[in-house]
Symmetry: C2
Subunit: 100 residues, 2 copies
DNA sequence: TCATGTACTTTCCACTAGGGAAAGTACTTT
DNA sequence: AAAGTACTTTCCCTAGTGGAAAGTACATGA
């Protein structure tokens, strides 16, 4: 019933959730989606990379540098575990809020 | 999409989840269920009370003092909001916090 | 060519929350 | 009187967060 602290921090939970929904996402897209500053996103992305959860790919669009993030397999399974653990914690309450 | 920080802290999330599943719970039951120390539970329970989410009732069992916790209406709705917000964050991934 | 701009990254800083340990409180029991 | 129960509070210390600002590397505009 441990909630992985690397994922649990709100900003990182949002990053991981965004990445879980896509194959790859641009730095700017994630930053704007979450409404965080460059430095905050950069730092959290590095933390996730260090944990082995996120892959950071650098490339170019035209001649301008660009950064993309994606979840590693490890990141995907850590996220799935995290959500499962959340369910275990929350579900005894019998709440019936459903997605959608 | 804000995750109420009072509820988000892992230990408090667990406390609130336990209380959401019951009408009232004893101090010792919650402490043992979560596997935390007296001082940790006491501090988090106070924090939840200060936030208006938990009611702390003191009484006796025989001649021994005992403490019970319960969610206030405000606490129940804050928890429901919290879970709804979690679901919004997580759902694009196709996973769900509350299977139904 | 020099200044500015883009796209981040890193450093600095100031704060705060969270846990463990230990001491404190108010009884009750032995 | 000493010890135990059931917590509460204090003390201390560390790690985590965000914002601001400076740094890096390359590209472009005047």
């Amino acid at each position: 019933m441990e909630l992985d602290p690397v994922i649990h921090a709100p900003t990182r939970l949002q990053i991981v959730s965004v990445l879980a929904a896509a194959e790859e996402a641009e730095f700017g897209f994630v930053r704007d989606t979450l409404g965080v500053s460059d430095s905050v996103l950069s730092k959290h992305a590095s933390a996730l990379e260090t944990a082995g959860y996120v892959r950071i790919r650098k490339g170019y669009v035209g001649k301008r540098p660009r950064t993309w993030f994606s979840l590693t397999e490890q990141g995907r399974s850590a996220f799935a575990d995290y959500v499962r653990n959340l369910q275990k914690i929350v579900s005894p309450s019998g709440l019936t809020v459903l997605p959608g």
